[in-house]
Point group: C3
Chain length 338, copies 3
Amino acid sequence: MARQLIRIMRPDDANVAGNVHGGTILKMIEEAGAIISTRHCNSQAGGSRGSGSEPCVAALARVERTDFLSPVCIGEVANVSAEITYTSRHSVEVQVNVMSENILTGAKKVTNKATLWYVPLSLKNVNKVLEVPPIQYARKEQEDEGKKRYEEQKLDRLETKQRNGDVIFPVINPEPHTVGYSQSSLIHLVGPSDCTLLGFVHGGVTMKLMDEVAGIVAARHCKTNIVTASVDAINFHEKIKKGSVITISGRMTFTSNKSMEIEVFVDADPFVDEPRERYRAVSAFFTYVSLSKEGKPLPVPQLLTETEDEKRRFEEGKGRYLQTKAKRQAQMQQAVQQ
Amino acid sequence: MARQLIRIMRPDDANVAGNVHGGTILKMIEEAGAIISTRHCNSQAGGSRGSGSEPCVAALARVERTDFLSPVCIGEVANVSAEITYTSRHSVEVQVNVMSENILTGAKKVTNKATLWYVPLSLKNVNKVLEVPPIQYARKEQEDEGKKRYEEQKLDRLETKQRNGDVIFPVINPEPHTVGYSQSSLIHLVGPSDCTLLGFVHGGVTMKLMDEVAGIVAARHCKTNIVTASVDAINFHEKIKKGSVITISGRMTFTSNKSMEIEVFVDADPFVDEPRERYRAVSAFFTYVSLSKEGKPLPVPQLLTETEDEKRRFEEGKGRYLQTKAKRQAQMQQAVQQ
Amino acid sequence: MARQLIRIMRPDDANVAGNVHGGTILKMIEEAGAIISTRHCNSQAGGSRGSGSEPCVAALARVERTDFLSPVCIGEVANVSAEITYTSRHSVEVQVNVMSENILTGAKKVTNKATLWYVPLSLKNVNKVLEVPPIQYARKEQEDEGKKRYEEQKLDRLETKQRNGDVIFPVINPEPHTVGYSQSSLIHLVGPSDCTLLGFVHGGVTMKLMDEVAGIVAARHCKTNIVTASVDAINFHEKIKKGSVITISGRMTFTSNKSMEIEVFVDADPFVDEPRERYRAVSAFFTYVSLSKEGKPLPVPQLLTETEDEKRRFEEGKGRYLQTKAKRQAQMQQAVQQ
């Protein structure tokens, strides 16, 4: 059952050029995913929970790589629809599509196709992962393809470099276009409206803050109007509790002719009510482009790398860039041949 | 004792043409009403609660038909003042007036006169309705007139068609100006900032979301700048709990030459912590007009009805429209004669 | 350890002329202060809490006089950094600096230097003030100067006139430029997102509302674009609990050629769950200036005082104005001589 979330884009959702922040869209995507998967995990045949099952809230475990296909503007309506496409024993795959609609002209554009994975956590014991009711597939192949995606993401989660030791230090008097020049960091106190019923931060709230930092890094580097072009797969390894302080840090890792890759870390300090050290909760790569007034991508200044680490990260970023480019070309070729 | 709520209207409160959303105003009206009635129900002679009484929160039970007399703009100050005008044993009638003020020119305009009914619910047991301390009337007639209004609204509440079976289904490739073309639906996850101390959604939050959906329906139909003209009486039969998902759906029911009537439903899914099915929490009719740049009402395209149900609803809408028109003419005649 | 909070200024943060409200800045300053001092009070040597200590939340006790050195605009990034500069046995002094940054040109301006005092309250018992872990000073003089500031603010807190009996009454048909003409008052229902983990209003939320009322008073008086120029020291004598209704009232007390002083009161009604009367929680003086389109201060109409009380308050305001002016001239002379 698809469900839809619609909202008019407001001035606060957008930058000064009127382009809606990628983070606003990511937050809506995650909210739609959380609603449909929580609903599903609390339902049994017929829609009402059986006496034997426990109430739960679905927590975001992973978002697959997401492209921002076209910019959304203030005054447009974002239509976000979600559908469950696969269930494993303990996780739910949700496909979320976003379409922007100019309600005056009626023009519609697909802006995002995102895939999210949720895990149901017991409302009584947040550390207990519950079982997911299986969905019905129209065709057997759908189940097989879903299982394949499930195995792939599981592998990717394991492979994710933890980079837990990696920290961003301030640089004194950095040169323009160096890594130190644009790196940025912000802190946020986790309040009640950031959290689910379980008292943990919504994945969408985290992603919105990550996009905010990445956007500041990108603007500081190229000093022009910038928009989110894509986000790499994000794994949510660790929950963040209400009352925590989170530090979100971003640094540029790579530039191509017309794009910038920014690595973003989220560190949590559960400083009040738990005897626990600061920990790395999430990390991700955001890609930004700079847009002219006519909406065309502009060239961006090349990133100047100084240290060995910066050079290594630049090469790794280049690898990701070329890999994505090759994948996209293969898809386009496939599309042409079909 | 009158109390006042004032706030400068911000860009996020308004549409792209700079007109403040009716929903923003409705939310302020309800907040003022909730404050004054909760205060009253917790007071005894002298202002402090006696030892025998229980603390309570006033919950919105009903809003009488409300007209939006003139548009409010960004940068203006909305002055919302509330006064208790009648108390029955278990309910409070509050009169709320809204005035917009251009603080630069000093110009003021009355924009709304709303009547709301609240019921005090015990803070310890939300299902227990407490007794309301009686107010003093300056004249005996005020009490009699209040009692008459109380009886009328009680009757109207009973007569409200529940329409609980009525659901809005998506239409594939609808023609412009049909009901299916403009109908819209959104979902919202009820968070802590939406709720009262009792953990139930503020009536004003619900009305703001209803106005948002109705506005999208109106804009999709006529593709011009639209504003809320009036809201019919709304009865809040059912509470909505924190953590619920609410689905707000709107469809056009009637158009006159220069106005559109939109029916809005609110359905709640208490999906996490209660073994209860989806239920209809509220429904209401919103009337919208389309405004030119000079603020004059524009003609709107006629609604094309297709099914028998749509034709029946159109005729019912026409009935409401003509009744309201007749009432207004009678009032104006009365005013002229006085 | 300095910590930084950064945020892009949004349309809702600013007035119609695009100048960010002083209240938005004060709220960010307080959030940064609350984070660093709560973190400090929960830390022991090495960063993790010892088994003997209790978790706590730092509550704002006082903000020293704060000047707004230059206006901030929509689209600029506010950089807020905080540092602990002194600790007494039961309080923490935090120095917060705000810098606005145009991320497109890279231009930066210092906009505020604020000093705040926090007190750690036990998470288990909000009435228990805990001990503050001492900080290390680079030089002995830093500790001595901090101690001097600590003693001075303690004295000032004691001397603060409570003005608890003082209430603002509405005036019927006031003349332009009188006190009654511009005085304003608003009410606010304290919701969960206004509160700390302890369930009491964040000091920054209160200051933002105070600035909102003061701004309305200033605009009503001079009917031009106005901005916050400074805030006198504010003492937070009394906590305000979630579910309270607060009334924020402002009246003009003094005008110089180019500035307006507005006194703001915050009164709390803990009306639901406590058998307590309305009480004065905070009061403060805000100074506003009127700006031309080029950002130059404009002359303001003189305040017309009518009653004896108004004349007395005008003279007191004049005293504060002259004292501040003299202090600033002394500082400038000192700066020139160095």
